[in-house]
Symmetry: C2
Subunit: 245 residues, 2 copies
């Protein structure tokens, strides 16, 4: 048995998310079916983290162990032909036998994309949250975003139903950038609570509407109350960009 580290990109449109579910098409389910067919036995694929229905990935990471003698480039070719074009293994590399995509992850980077114009771009449908006028104040959003950097209790940005006991996380970077109608939010952290990036995005948009000062996000953080934060932004704007080990 050899263990491989897989880097996977997927367009989450129409998928139930990363995790295999009783019904619907999942990335994990499609990968496990493809690897099981390749290896002639039931194969488990473990991801660095779950992504929700409709969420995309540029660099999800997973581990898999294969009995059959095959090299990494062979895995990329053999699995990609068994997957729909919306899901691609973009890289495979042999890893230590005990490599675990989830437990060994040191940080993850997410991107949240917002299309802030009255008319939605046909090319951003499914890949950005459409927020019509007024024009959001990206300066206020950027200042608010920076206040989330550091170690904090992010309970206010967590949807009930998450798996973890502590809601303390360290955010290494939290940045807003605007280019025309497109506002991009990039966040890097050592771990993320359920719906954390999407509820932060919803909160930053509230700040950008000009009704709140940037410092309001500190009040939200301190409240540890989900009701104090903004709405959970829709899944189609969210991308898992990369996982670091």
């Amino acid at each position: 048995m050899k263990t491989f580290k897989l880097t996977i990109a997927y367009d989450g449109t129409g998928l139930v998310g990363w995790q295999r579910q009783a019904a619907g098409t999942s990335v994990q389910g499609l990968l496990e079916d493809a690897f099981s067919e390749l290896d002639g036995r039931a194969v488990a694929v473990t991801g660095a983290g779950r992504t929700d229905a409709g969420v995309h990935a540029l660099g999800q990471v997973a581990n898999v162990a294969i009995a059959r003698e095959i090299d990494p480039s062979g895995i990329v070719r053999a699995i990609n032909v068994r997957l729909p074009p919306s899901i691609r293994i973009v890289d495979a590399a042999e890893a230590a036998p005990d490599f675990h995509a989830r437990f060994d992850a040191r940080s993850k980077a997410y991107r949240y994309r917002i299309w802030n114009a009255d008319v939605m771009s046909p090319f951003e449908r499914g890949y950005a949250w459409h927020v019509p006028s007024p024009m959001l104040d990206a300066g206020v959003m950027a200042a608010a975003a920076r206040l989330l950097e550091g170690s904090h209790d992010f309970a206010a940005f967590q949807t009930a139903g998450g798996e973890t006991h502590s809601s303390r996380r360290t955010v290494l970077a939290s940045r807003i950038d605007r280019a025309g109608a497109l506002i991009t939010y990039e966040i890097v952290g050592d771990g993320f609570l359920r719906h954390m990036v999407r509820s932060i995005a919803g909160t930053l948009v509230e700040a950008g509407r000009g009704r709140r000062a940037a410092s309001w996000v500190e009040d939200v953080l301190r409240s540890r109350d989900r009701a104090a934060a903004g709405p959970t932004a829709p899944p189609e704007g969210l991308f898992l960009v990369s996982v670091s080990y």
Copy 2:
């Protein structure tokens, strides 16, 4: 009657192109149906140029005359609600009564996108031509592209069936840029022959494969022979970016 200049973006995936056809969904057909419903009479919409099936537009331009009293922002709202989300009027402006989107156009800008990596990105399906390895030589492609700038007879880059008598055109800019796997070709010209951008893109890729020197495109130009050029690149990589007046 007031005449309006419309700027239109569309995702050409699944469309038969700009022009109304006997069968299939066209941008012109959907726009004319929407304007006719709005104005309560048969309304014609004239585009700056046809785009083929599967070709996209960021800034197609069209003219339309409306009897009903309505302002430009009212047109944007009223027509967009009658269109599928793959087609959006991004701007409308009142124009001179004799404004003609096609005859008055001074230049057009097109972009052709190429994804040059073994694994296709899930997010580029339908928006770029997938050219797997070997890695194309973007330097050779850029040098070849520059040789097309100026006034030339582009007969070698024309598919039979075009409407025009002369195949002489002036190319104002013809540039290649590479960022990772994505190669972008930008061309600005005073007019374009049928399949001209796509046959140039196919020819530049041939040059990028390293089998031809950049100067080969001058031989192709001089030949005036379609068979001397590279293949016609697929429609999904092509975007009509803008039309200048």
